[in-house]
């Protein structure tokens, strides 16, 4: 080495759930921590209710189009937690027993729902996550619930990380929460990490890792332009004794692939086994008269529903098919959802229209009834079909627009297993919503940007089998000691529910082991910090749940 490079104990790559939780515990335990985040750092007052290209709405998330799969993910300090809909159910018990495409249990033997529950508790306490009550369910959730009940199904308001006393039901949460009602990481783990001395550097996009002579790693980054993400500025590097990679399931494997030339061969599962969480969307257009007549719903102003825009994303889910006795690939949850305009209408197909149904006159007719739409979100069991091709020159995508839109190297071809789940879910949605003329419904088209997911998973996953997992059950990258992965890429497969709480619980669970690994590498750090803000968070959560 001829020039001095900055050094620290732990570099955390990414500031979403996997990164923020690691940054907090390491910093609180006494380690020097630097968090590198490729996106901007926005605060509540900077979250605009504006669809203009260049507003916070397009700055904080990425839509990466692949070959057969498109991925929506966070691109900001706070990562997915800033753009997520804060729906936080625990994964059902059967999920941990799944075999998926490998013919035996996918999850490490050391993890089950029972022994993950205490870690779920930690996250629920920290954010906090609270049980929701029917009297505060927005119209769209209520409509879905009423339709489910009419069809003899059950429906639940899932637990959520939203402070309802602050929420104004503006439905802008995908662009960040202006009112700090959504409990993103900007309100708990990240400020707590900062308070303990961690540094967070936005617009630092990590490109690759190299190994140092002392067994540590050098993390190489480029500075991203604040406004036009297609422009990269100077490069830099930081040395670390231990690296926590949490760039998201769409980026973590790409960074590792790009590092292979310097680090040596990666485990086979790096960039393979990607899961889109079995996700699929249907859009229904409701007949307002039938909603009133059949379901007996009405709201002030004389409408039965006509309130798609009002609310806070998904607030009611139907869990009837989360039944462990059903065969694998036939289990799924259905969740009412709001998708904002901008990207939320183009893929919707006009129900009953002749091909083409995603554009033209039938689509415009459908748009005229937008306030009577209801989007139903399927989360099912896919087959971990996704494989990442060679990485782009920088980042995880070739950026088309200055923000938000790019094309990436992910290839996904849904198997008959995945299609079975989707078809069953589509039929279930149709059976519930078209009953007695309530609505007409059609799935989103997969022909334009492939399948799509807002919950990318499993591209660098934990497991017991080195041939089909990239990480051991401590989240350490096989063959590369000192590199840990704690984001959605570590989750072995589809969860049938929203994955954020599971990603976060796994990160919490991995902490004691990561702290031990840091100690073994000479870092003066201890494990055992309380939940960030624990003085009040747990009481608030209990009070709201009681």
């Amino acid at each position: 080495m001829t020039t001095a490079t900055e050094s620290t104990d732990v570099v955390v790559i990414g500031s979403g759930f996997g990164g923020a939780i690691a940054a907090y515990h390491f910093a609180a335990g006494g380690a020097r921590v630097v968090v590198l985040e490729r996106g901007p750092w926005l605060k509540a007052e900077e979250f605009e209710h504006d669809y203009k290209l260049g507003s916070s709405y397009t700055r904080v998330f990425d839509f990466v189009v692949g070959d057969g799969m498109s991925v929506l993910s966070g691109n900001c300090v706070g990562g997915g937690s800033v753009v997520y809909f804060a729906t936080m159910p625990r994964a059902p018990r059967f999920v941990f027993e799944r075999h998926g495409s490998i013919g035996r249990r996918m999850w490490p033997a050391s993890i089950s729902r029972d022994n993950l529950d205490p870690w779920y508790d930690r996250v629920a306490e920290a954010l906090p996550v609270t049980r929701q009550s029917w009297d505060r369910v927005p119209y769209a959730g209520g409509l879905f619930a009423a339709a489910c009940a009419h069809a003899g199904r059950t429906a639940n308001p899932p637990p959520a990380a939203v402070d309802l006393d602050e929420c104004v039901n503006c439905n802008w949460m995908m662009a960040g929460c202006r009112f700090d009602a959504k409990r993103s990481l900007l309100l708990n783990y990240l400020p707590a990490a900062l308070a303990h001395g961690a540094g967070i550097r936005p617009l630092h996009e990590v490109q690759q890792l190299t190994r140092n002579d002392d067994g540590g790693y050098r993390v190489h980054y480029r500075i991203i332009d604040d406004e036009d993400y297609r422009i990269l500025h100077e490069s830099g590097a930081i040395d670390a004794k231990l690296v926590v990679l949490a760039a998201g399931a769409g980026a973590t494997p790409v960074i590792l692939q790009r590092s292979e030339a310097a680090l040596g061969p990666m485990p086979h599962a790096v960039g393979r086994y990607f899961s889109g969480n079995g996700e699929r969307l249907n859009t229904a257009v409701f007949d307002e008269d039938r909603v009133r007549e059949v379901l007996g719903l009405s709201r002030p102003g004389g409408h039965a529903y006509a309130a798609y825009q009002i609310g806070r994303g998904p607030t009611v889910a139907s869990w009837d098919r989360l039944d462990g006795r059903l065969p694998e690939y036939e289990r799924f949850s259905l969740e009412q959802l709001y998708f904002p305009p901008g990207l939320g209408t183009i893929l919707a197909q006009a129900p009953g229209a002749a091909d083409p149904s995603w554009f033209g006159l039938p689509k415009k007719e459908m748009l005229r009834r937008w306030q009577s739409w209801l989007t139903i979100f399927t989360m099912s069991e896919d087959d971990n079909e996704g494989v990442f091709g060679p990485p782009p020159e920088t980042g995880n995508a070739h950026r088309l627009s200055m923000q938000m839109l790019g094309d990436g190297p992910l290839r996904y071809r849904p198997t008959p297993n995945t299609w079975r789940g989707w078809s069953l879910a589509d039929a279930e949605v149709k059976d519930i919503l078209e009953r007695d003329g309530l609505a007409r419904v059609a799935p989103w088209t997969n022909d334009l940007v492939g399948a799509y997911t807002v919950h990318p998973l499993a591209s660098c996953r934990i497991g017991d089998d080195p041939a089909t997992s990239a990480l051991d059950d401590r989240h350490e990258l096989r063959g590369h000691p000192g590199i840990f992965v704690t984001d959605g890429s570590a989750v072995p497969g589809a969860l049938t529910v929203n994955p954020a709480l599971t990603i976060a619980a796994l990160a919490e669970r991995a902490m004691p082991g990561m702290v031990r690994a840091a100690q073994e590498r000479g870092v003066a750090v201890r494990y055992g910090a309380p939940a960030p803000g624990a003085g009040t968070a747990a009481r608030v959560a209990t009070a709201q749940t009681a």
Partner: protein
Amino acid sequence: MQPDEHDAGPARTATIEAFADTIIPGEKRSPGDRAIAGADSTGGAVAAGALELLEQPGGGLAEALDSLFYTLNDHAAGYAAKHGLVLDDDVPAFVALPFEHRTALVRELTAPEHPEKQMWVALALFSNMAFDSAAHISTAEALASRHPGLLTIGYFPPDADGLSRFPQYSYGRVLAPSHPQTTVTGDPA
């Protein structure tokens, strides 16, 4: 008509407008309007600002519009020949296509197996985005100017400070039985 490379402006504009109008159809701006087919009676993607959005450098398609213009008209001429259509030659070939044939051609170009699919899908995506969210101007400005897309979808305007709030948001009652195995924390078992 062979596009004149030295004066592609009006022809290019008309061609891209005709494509956007195929995605979200609108009313003609004047009786002589050729780019907009007039398949619908209210403003569509063109009136919503599709061209303005596409021409923004930040969008990523601005530099490709020339190439898209030539290629789209090549495809349109080929389509017309294949289907035995005789096109007016006083407007670009795609503009000369009747609405139902524009629709059929766009369907071909955006089909999964088409080699240029990604570019045409991107063009459709931006045409739609101009309509459903007015992504080229601030939402406040769009609402103030009665943006045809936001008007069509019946978008509820924000409060005076530009922020949306919906104090009335809930039917306020239990509307379905909960799953019998719901845990004490409200989770699936």
